[in-house]
């Protein structure tokens, strides 16, 4: 099914350069170029993929991979459509520095909230989205939590985020151990700021106890 779809997509949308990746374990997928995502989604909808189940993103060291999970309820099919965008700059709360991709809300209305969640959590600017606001975190939150290099902001509206007394140190130690074991900081996702060697933070931690 994936091979057929990929060749069909390539012929329908010339810029898509769709490639089918067949997996021996788990699910296969079709990867397309990010510039053609809107045309590809339109073509897929006319092919029968009437439901957009989920839009999700994964942060790799050099790129962000977007996965559109589509389903065809009449033929009972499921498709993982993938595309890659550059990482951009995910610090702060600025839409202009984020990677851009066309929004597919005009194809499936259900993509509205899904894209908002993706923007909020992973920092992807969906161009043409009718209402691209943060959805799960407050509007003025800094950073995009599911990115691997994310560090929690220290203060939000004069409130200390993650006061030392409330941080689960076991989690922290677990992350530290993992980082030492694996040795590659990009592979370990630990949000908590490492306070060892920072005299102010260490003192704060003592006050908390």
């Amino acid at each position: 099914m994936h091979d057929e779809l990929a060749s069909k997509l390539s012929s329908l949308v010339s810029t898509s350069s769709a490639v089918a990746h067949m997996a021996t374990l788990g699910d296969s997928n079709v990867t397309v170029e990010s510039v053609s995502i809107l045309e590809v989604c339109r073509a897929l909808k006319s092919e029968g993929f009437n439901v957009c189940q989920c839009i999700t993103a994964t942060d790799y060291a050099d790129r962000i991979e977007l996965t559109y999970i589509l389903a065809d309820f009449t033929k009972n099919l499921e498709l993982l459509l993938k595309t890659n965008v550059p990482r951009g700059d995910g610090n702060g709360n600025n839409k202009d520095t984020l990677p851009k991709i066309n929004s597919v809300v005009s194809v499936w209305n259900g993509a509205n909230f899904l894209e908002r969640e993706c923007y909020d959590m992973m920092g992807i600017n969906f161009v043409g989205h009718p209402d691209l606001r943060r959805i799960l975190t407050p509007d003025d939150w800094q950073g995009y939590p599911l990115r691997r290099d994310y560090i929690v902001q220290e203060k939000y509206l004069d409130m200390v985020v993650n006061p030392p007394a409330k941080i689960n140190t076991e989690d922290h130690m677990f992350g530290k151990k993992l980082r030492e074991e694996i040795g590659d900081p990009k592979k370990v996702s630990v949000s908590w700021k490492d306070t060892s060697g920072d005299p102010i933070a260490e003192e704060e931690a003592k006050d908390g106890e």
Partner: protein, 387 residues
Amino acid sequence: MSSHHEPIDKIMLGDQEILKSDLLTLNMGPQHPATHGVLRVEIKTDSEIVVDAIPHLGYLHRCFEKHAEHLDYRGVIPYVDRMDYLGAMSMEWGYALTIEKMLGTEVPKRAEYIRVLVAELQRIASHLVYFGTYGIDMGAFTTFLYCFQDREEILRIFEELSGARMLYNYIWIGGVWNDINDDQLTRVKNFVDRFEPELHKYHTLVGQNKIFIERTAHVGILTKEQCLDYGATGPVLRGSGVNWDLRKNRPYGMYEKFDFDVVVGRGEKGTTGDCWDRYYVRIFEMFESIKIIRQVLDGIEEGPVMGKVPKIIKVPAGEIYMRTECPRGELGYHLISDGGKTPYRLKVKSSCFTHVSMLPIIAPGQMVADLVASIGSIDIVLGEVDR
């Protein structure tokens, strides 16, 4: 009751504008019993008519997906429980299936039976909470007491089985934590025998009640096309007349062995896809669950309840998307593994999140009280919406 209403912009006397009315913004929630949790709906009203409703989410956001990235595969299960805290067993099962499919683990027959049993009991318990609280939304307090009494019985069985009343950590990767004994099976049997006629009684008491029908029929209509466009699943989709149930269409676990029907809304009291249809689907799904439970009780085999799973679970590199039918709709786990001890990325597709996104299309043109009925009828759990 949901008549379409033109908002009054101005009242004219001759050519002179004498009274200008404006829209009133009203915040429903986050601490409001009718939103069933901490959901804030910003409503713009013109007198009693809702013009626009904007849901604001995130009050229960814990960033489960980030947590999952640095937990080992077994350690994720208690977190999964806390998403849909009214349907924890189904949440666990979906997660366990995802990992088992990647590992190629074979789950023993008895464990499969127990999983179906607890998942269906959980479905009944979850729908009972819906039914009870929906009664309160509609002004009928009695249903709440009836339903919670019955739900209590299920929770007691679960408590004996797993040690916890709501957040079980019972379904593990490879099987279930603890075997079920004959005494517990008898209790389940006694429960369904007693509960089935009771449920008929509740349906007569509430579903055929004139006031209840007036409040729910023709209210909060979602058409088939809208549901598919927004990606709604579960009882909401079936209430709109779409015959789609993952237990039938993409069978997992042991569901292909069991004989049961998919309940679809037909617009019996009003229009297809209204609040009464969603009520109807959930009530009759409970009867179907009872059917399945009876078949489990007849067919359950002796044997081990835990398959062979390595001590340290390392899922081979790859990805998978696994969907299961939970009480509230489809739950999907999208797992990307790089071969390590922890998931590289675990995304949860929540049905409630999708259903909340439909509020802006249900709400316009409704009375404020009907909006309460609509929110109740899509049956959201905010723990799953915000994750």
